[in-house]
């Protein structure tokens, strides 16, 4: 039998339900894999082996008693920006180094109820600010395909852990590409759900108007399974959508297996395939389009003219919201504190100055600037109006096509340190992923093959599908045909 940690959820499900393996056995296999590989990859910030074993034993009891459930007994890792009761939550920041949340995030609670086994917490860019996991205060996560390269970010730990079989799936969050880009870099599947589909109670707020929680998994089927368990209206998050809003009929659900995408119109946005796009990246995505065509889809060219303004809009709105959301880290009550300060103002400044890393500080400063008197209209309000135009671009496109197909990233994973001294270059990483975030649309990154990177090695590349809001079902149906 193959190593149990290498199973997909679907495969493990069958074996668990037939009593051929136990949750404890899969959990031990995952813990062993973490122990063997993580000193090199550094995907995990905290491993909770004892509580994982205890949870696995409980799951095995439930299974033995005849209970069944899609995630019952399945071990997973959780991005360290979601609260886990009794287990450290650091957001990869020094300011929260010793923080232990007194409660679980709603998604963690749901997984607990479903009987999934929490193995530990994964690395990320500090407070999810970044596209490479190099902004972690605890050191970068390495790409399992090439340890000299980044895993992407900000959910680099979750993506690298899934790719290297440390867990069967992982939870992550996506604010402007943080699930999709690392999924692309590590050759795994990542779903960024529609804004409001999954509760954010217990997710450390970064950009409240775009933050979403979603799964990273080995297959589209597995990712969809996890999404199904964590989605839904939550009283504790007022931005979660009511059921009637999320129930949109997938009119292609009953297509025949011979022509599964008959009638489906797939749009290729011209602005995502500009002259300067790496031809190998273009070829991979066109190959995906051809695959969908063979399945019966019609491929059409569409235009999203405001695409190029996505990054500037995102990097005004994000720091603005970040500067407000991180104001709560004042050293009082919890978090790092500098006791030597003589008065309150100095205490705030010293605690925050010592606790936040460079990118968090940069975003706080930038956001404070764009929200400050005299600049608010020129930056923040301007960005909010252009955001409307970006959303309208998508609305118009979805009158012509059912789904959009793009590359997830303009290239494969880059070298560690290659871009870390140039914040603007790092911001441009998000070129293909900010649009869906700013518009609240669901998107998925699925492996589209390997492409050559600068030194001649091959690294994974993801194809991205972007769907109309709450049309995850259609998006997943199409994604399953890609890999």
């Amino acid at each position: 039998m193959m190593n149990l940690n290498e199973l997909t959820i679907k495969e493990a499900r069958v074996l668990l339900d037939e009593g051929k393996i136990t949750s404890l056995e899969i959990t031990e296999a995952c813990l062993k894999q973490i122990e063997t590989l993580d000193k090199d990859i550094h995907a995990c910030l905290t491993v909770c082996a004892d509580s994982a074993r205890a949870e696995a034993r409980v799951a095995d009891k439930r299974l033995k008693a005849g209970e069944r459930g899609m995630l019952l007994g399945i071990p997973y890792l959780c991005k360290d920006i979601l609260m886990t009761k009794g287990i450290r939550t650091t957001a990869a920041s020094k300011i929260l180094e010793n923080y232990i949340a007194p409660y679980d995030a709603t998604v963690v609670m749901k997984l607990k109820g479903a009987g999934a086994v929490l193995l530990g917490k994964t690395n990320l860019d500090e407070f999810a600010h970044g596209a490479s996991t190099e902004n972690s205060a605890y050191g970068p996560t390495k790409n399992p395909y090439d340890l000299t390269r980044v895993a992407g970010g900000s959910s680099g730990g979750s993506a690298a852990a899934v790719a290297s079989h440390m867990c069967l799936f992982a939870l992550a969050s996506d604010t402007g590409g943080s699930i999709r880009q690392p999924a692309s870099f590590c050759g795994v599947v990542g779903i960024k759900p529609s804004y409001g589909k999954v509760s954010r109670f217990g997710l450390l707020s970064m950009t409240s108007s775009t933050d979403v929680v979603g799964p990273i998994a080995k297959t589209v089927f597995d990712a969809a399974l996890v999404l199904n368990v964590i989605a839904g209206k939550d009283e504790l998050d007022a931005t979660t959508a009511p059921v009637e809003m999320t129930k949109i009929e997938n009119k292609f659900a009953n297509n025949t297996d011979a022509q599964p995408l008959s009638g489906v119109k797939v749009g290729l946005p011209t602005e995502y395939f500009l002259e300067n796009l790496n031809p190998e990246v273009k070829d991979k995505i066109i190959a995906v389009a051809n695959k969908l065509k063979l399945a019966g889809a019609e491929i059409k060219s569409v235009s999203l003219p405001y695409t190029k303004y996505g990054i500037p809009v995102y990097y005004i709105i994000t720091p603005s919201e970040v500067s407000s959301n991180l104001a709560r880290f004042d050293g009082i009550g919890w978090g790092l504190k500098k006791e030597e300060a003589v008065n309150l103002q100095e205490f705030y400044k010293k605690s925050r100055g010592a606790g936040f890393g460079p990118e968090a500080k940069r975003r706080i400063m930038l956001g404070t600037y764009t929200l400050s008197a005299g600049y608010y209209d020129a930056y923040y309000k301007k960005a909010q109006t252009v955001r409307t135009l970006i959303i309208e671009d998508f609305n118009k496109a979805f009158k012509k096509v059912d789904i959009l197909l793009t590359p997830t990233s303009p290239h494969g994973a880059f070298k560690i340190g290659e871009q870390s001294n140039d914040p603007l270059a790092m911001y441009l990483e998000d070129i293909f992923v900010t649009g869906a975030s700013l518009s609240g649309l669901p998107a998925i990154s699925v492996p589209a093959g390997m492409i050559k990177v600068k030194d001649g090695n091959e690294m994974p590349l993801g194809a991205q599908l972007i769907a109309p809001r709450f049309q995850e079902d259609l998006m997943i149906q199409i994604a399953k045909l890609i890999v």
Binding site: P312, G333, N343, L344, I364, L366, K382, T385, T388
Partner: protein, 96 residues
């Protein structure tokens, strides 16, 4: 655009961040180049375009203001963080 050292120090003050001399200089050049870049939005005509503050599609989400049961241990843990004195949270002095 060229942000001055004084502007950076003012923003740091508003942000409640203690910055070193090197950090002030680093953020001065980095913020200047980022703001230069985002200024490309000026070329977009946005007269009569409404702004988007959120994309939930929801408005005025209300609920009854009623007390609900919550795990007692969790409540206590959440409310008792930080240095306490006589049942109050202790902070540094505010007035000199």
């Amino acid at each position: 655009m060229n942000i001055t050292k004084e502007e950076i120090q003012h923003i740091a003050e508003l942000s409640r961040l203690d910055l070193s001399v090197e950090e002030v200089e680093k953020y001065r050049t980095q913020l200047s180049s980022i703001l230069d870049y985002v200024k490309m939005l000026d070329e977009v005509k946005t007269d009569n375009v409404e702004l988007t503050a959120q994309v939930s599609g929801l408005m005025d989400v209300f609920r009854e203001d009623e007390v609900k049961e919550w795990d007692k241990q969790e409540t206590e843990a959440a409310l008792n963080l930080g240095e306490r004195e006589n049942g109050s949270l202790k902070v540094k002095r505010v007035l000199q």
